[in-house]
């Protein structure tokens, strides 16, 4: 566990996570990634919703928006439209992104905005003290589901690929080097990139805490990330350990295409195509004379 407080991207406000939380690793990997990319403090905007994962921007001295529960992506889209020159990173969790914010996730992915979404999947609501989340295992006992979760977990990567995201990565909060690599790859990508981070909660939950031995790297195993069938297969196996304690978890770049329409590029195209159509309000008013209906 590195001391993130020494990092130049940290604002000195002590993270409020539980001691030993794997999120410290994520924070450290992200700031080191910024550092290695040479990003200035005003050269990136980190946006989050509500939850443990969403506290992250509060500890940084970059542009930061700690928004409403489930709503980081709308704010991120507004930031992209307003300042296309500033990259946007969203830090969110399984409850924030996939429950209350699911609609925004599906559409931001579908529209393929140039946004990097880091989803810290601890498979529960931890800040509100142990409720089941969309990704909790079947039967998981949260405070609102004392007789166990009655439904199957949602697969984040499958949903992202199915929605139209152009890049999906998976990593584990236990491996800072790999996290940093995934964050860097995702930020290099033009289009919607999701980094699904397996990050079991130390305080709540009955998942296996140490899963580092069961991770296997997709790229080292010849995974074809641009092939949708292979990608969906790799995406599918994240929760196999719910039923098989020895099942492996594939990490790395699950899915990546560079030939999908990126919304940000389309905005630029529309602007270029309409350049000079109006230069001021007066040009518009000229069109609105009573006898002019050719609008």
């Amino acid at each position: 566990m590195s001391d993130t407080r020494q990092n130049s991207y940290m604002n000195g406000y002590a993270p409020s996570w539980c001691p030993g939380c794997s999120y410290f690793n994520v924070l450290s990997a992200l700031t080191e990634c910024f550092d290695e990319r040479g990003i200035a403090e005003n050269g990136v905007c980190v946006i989050s919703g509500i939850g443990c994962s969403s506290r992250l921007p509060l500890f940084l001295n970059t542009y930061g928006m700690h928004t409403l529960h489930g709503r980081p992506l709308p704010a991120a889209i507004g930031a992209r439209l307003a300042r296309p020159d500033i990259p946007v990173v969203v830090t969110t969790g399984d409850g924030d992104l996939l429950s209350i914010g699911a609609a925004h996730f599906v559409h931001a992915a579908r529209k393929n905005f140039d946004i990097t979404v880091i989803c810290l999947d601890n498979r529960i609501y931890a800040m509100t003290k142990n409720q089941t989340s969309p990704t909790s295992p079947i039967g998981y006992q949260g405070s609102l589901t004392p007789y166990g979760k009655l439904s199957a977990p949602l697969n984040i990567s499958e949903l992202a690929i199915g929605s139209g995201a152009s890049m999906v990565c998976r990593s584990c909060a236990c491996d800072k080097t790999h996290l940093k690599k995934m964050f860097d790859d995702a930020m290099n990508h033009r289009g919607f990139s999701l980094v699904e981070v397996i990050a079991p909660c130390r305080t709540f939950g009955n998942q296996q805490k140490d899963i580092s031995e069961r991770l296997y790297d997709l790229q080292a195993n010849g995974h074809q990330a641009d092939d949708k069938e292979s990608a969906m297969r790799a995406a599918a196996h994240v929760y196999d350990s719910d039923s098989d304690a020895n099942a492996g978890i594939p990490v790395g770049v699950v899915w990546k295409r560079d030939d999908m329409l990126c919304f940000d590029d389309q905005v630029e195209r529309v602007a270029a195509e309409n350049k000079g159509k109006y230069s001021s309000i007066n040009d518009i008013l000229d069109e609105l004379r009573p006898d002019n209906v050719n609008r």
């Binding site: 604002n11 507004g78 307003a82 309409n274 000079g276």
Partner: protein
């Protein structure tokens, strides 16, 4: 009025088109309204259509006048065109649009031209013989061109002006020739059939045919929603986000066409929550942004409005009010969202709420909304309503370099300068550095800081509402708040307060009442919140009797006035989905004055019928 010279007589012509959706009623109204505007007349089109995709009865009232103060809504019409049998049933009074029935029942002044038999006594009816144009059997929408032909013939609209407007509108679509054919057949059928026997035709034809332009200055055809879009563009709005919702959608449709050329973008979001989120995300970087919505959308965006208050992030929201609650009547007019705009959402946050009563105010108040959002760093909600939002009118070309009262203002920034200083915002309570804080002292300090900035509102925006006293003499300072006690009675017979579209109709009613010698003092607030008590209290100097005119059931502004000033008012309310007409307001106000007089006469007697000395 000089009857021998028609061109000098005041001239107002109202034409009501009624038909089934698909008959082209709204398009026909648009064409006629533009033709009259192009001839230099003041012209407006008040649309009334059902929320169905197709089906139901649509109507549009086109008003043409040489007086630009004439009201765009009315209970009467000079000509009524029923474009289908179903519309005729409505006209006949079976069910449906009340104002059509009212128009018919007015008798003499109406020439109903319809597809069948005569209607009420005193009206002349003619058959619109669509069979003359076989194309209409296969293309229902050609009916409106036929009717435009009839109108052009009987009103003497010169030089196929209406046809050229129809043709222009259809440029990129099919049926141009078919519309021209339908127009021609309609024109000829009217010349040979209707025109010779039409009783009321002369006063109208000569006037429109001469086409003497009354408004020489550059006019533009606007509707309230378009005016909001133009105001936003003028104010430097560069990001717009919205979700489709009646009756606000067309704001986005206009602005989406304009923004890319001006370096911005209009984004269609997956829901209203996302739309306000995008707006807030853009304002985070000081890029002016706006969302527009209506009733249900206003409910959905409340949480983000609270976020704006807490984080002191600006936001501009336009709410085109419709009849609620829930889905309600999506295409119908109301003024029911005042309380939701001011008090909606949890917690106590800072907001500014404005209301526009005219198309011009839609333009100027949108610009003000951006300015206020920047200045006070809080959400600014501009309330418009279904009536003004959809109302089409020939207007004076708006000028972005003046403020709402015509004072010159600094040029709005065309390209906003983004703030490059790093900032973080959080919806958690936080200290002055933006770090979350739960401490009691900090909470008190921060709430006070956020609310106290609103104290400056009154000083900044006093000009936004003035009391209109007509030619009444302002009371002497010593008699303030004592209007009742003066020997010669209060200076006014009644005071009137109204907001939104009702305010514009009230202005017209007041103007008519003043001509009848009734003394009235009025207040038309455009800044509804923060609530500025002084303006309301000042009215007491003129008369203790204060009527509040608004389109809702509960009397929302009346409640706010009582809550803030303790003044009890008399509510004049209408909540049937249609806006007030000036005639209705006039009758209500006269009723109030007469009732008060009756009560005061009663109390002035000693029980034996003799008046007190």
């Amino acid at each position: 009025m000089d009857a021998t010279n028609n061109n000098d007589a005041p001239f107002t012509l109202r034409v009501l088109l009624v038909g089934e959706a698909g008959d082209g009623v709204l398009s026909g109204g648009d064409t006629f309204m533009r033709a009259a505007a192009a001839l230099g007349f003041h012209s407006s089109a008040h649309n009334c259509f059902p929320p169905t995709i197709r089906g139901g009865i649509c109507s549009v009232l086109v008003t043409v006048s040489d007086d630009d103060s004439v009201a765009p809504v009315s209970l009467s019409a000079d000509f009524v065109f029923a474009l289908s049998r179903a519309a005729l049933v409505v006209l006949g009074g079976a069910e449906g649009i009340d104002r059509v029935n009212d128009a018919i029942s007015r008798g003499d002044s109406i020439s109903a031209i319809n597809t069948g038999d005569g209607l009420s006594d005193g009206t002349q009816s003619f058959k619109l013989d669509f069979d003359l144009c076989p194309l209409i059997h296969t293309h229902q929408q050609l009916k409106s061109s036929f009717v435009m032909g009839v109108l052009s013939a009987i009103l003497g609209i010169p030089g196929n002006l209406a046809l050229s407007i129809i043709t222009e509108k259809l440029k990129s679509k099919n049926l141009t020739e078919q519309n021209a054919e339908s127009f021609r057949i309609g024109f000829e059928s009217a010349e040979s059939g209707i025109l010779p026997s039409l009783r009321t035709v002369n006063k109208h034809t000569s006037r429109l045919a001469s086409g003497r332009p009354l408004f020489s200055e550059d006019r533009v055809v606007l509707d309230g929603n378009l005016a909001v879009a133009l105001g936003a563009v003028s104010a430097g709005c560069r990001v717009y986000a919205s979700y489709p919702i009646s009756p606000a959608t067309s704001i986005g449709a206009h602005i989406a066409a304009y923004l890319p050329a001006l370096g911005g973008f209009a984004y269609q979001a997956e829901d209203e929550i996302s739309a306000i989120g995008v707006t807030v995300g853009a304002w985070f970087f000081d890029i002016p942004a706006m969302t527009a919505t209506s009733g249900p959308g206003l409910s959905l965006i409340q949480e983000f409005l609270g976020y704006c208050s807490m984080t002191e992030t600006p936001a501009v929201v336009v709410n085109v009010q419709r009849a609620g609650p829930s889905t309600g009547m999506p295409t119908k007019h109301s003024q029911e969202d005042l309380m939701a705009a001011i008090f909606g959402g949890h917690g106590e946050g800072q907001r500014i709420v404005l209301a526009a009563s005219t198309i011009e105010e839609c333009f100027y108040l949108t610009i003000e909304a951006f300015d206020m959002a920047r200045r006070f760093r809080c959400p600014v909600i501009l309330l418009t309503d279904g009536a003004v939002g959809n109302l089409q009118m020939s207007c004076k070309r708006p000028d972005a370099s003046v403020d709402i009262n015509g004072h010159a203002v600094a040029a709005p920034s065309q390209a906003a300068t983004p703030n490059t200083a790093v900032r973080r915002i959080t919806g958690l309570e936080h200290d002055t550095k933006g770090v979350p804080s739960n401490t009691a002292n900090n909470r008190v300090r921060q709430q006070y800081k956020r609310f106290s900035k609103m104290d400056k509102i009154e000083a900044y925006y006093n000009y936004m509402q003035t009391i209109d006293i007509g030619d009444l003499k302002p009371p002497m300072p010593k008699s303030r708040f004592a209007a009742k006690m003066r020997d010669d009675g209060p200076p006014a017979d009644i005071c009137v307060i109204s907001w939104g579209f009702s305010a514009e109709m009230t202005r017209k009613a007041v103007s008519a009442l003043r001509k009848r010698g009734i003394k009235i003092a009025c207040l038309y607030p455009r800044l509804l919140f923060p609530f500025i008590n002084g303006h309301y209290l000042e009215l007491l100097n003129f008369c203790p009797r204060i009527a509040v005119v608004e389109s809702n059931y509960t009397g929302q502004l009346a409640s706010l006035i009582r809550m803030n000033t303790g003044i009890n008012t008399i509510s004049v309310k209408k909540y049937n989905g249609e806006p007030f007409t000036p005639e209705e307001i006039e009758a209500e106000l006269v009723g109030i004055i007469e009732m008060e007089k009756f009560i005061s006469d009663l109390s002035d007697t000693n029980g034996d019928g003799a008046a007190k000395k």
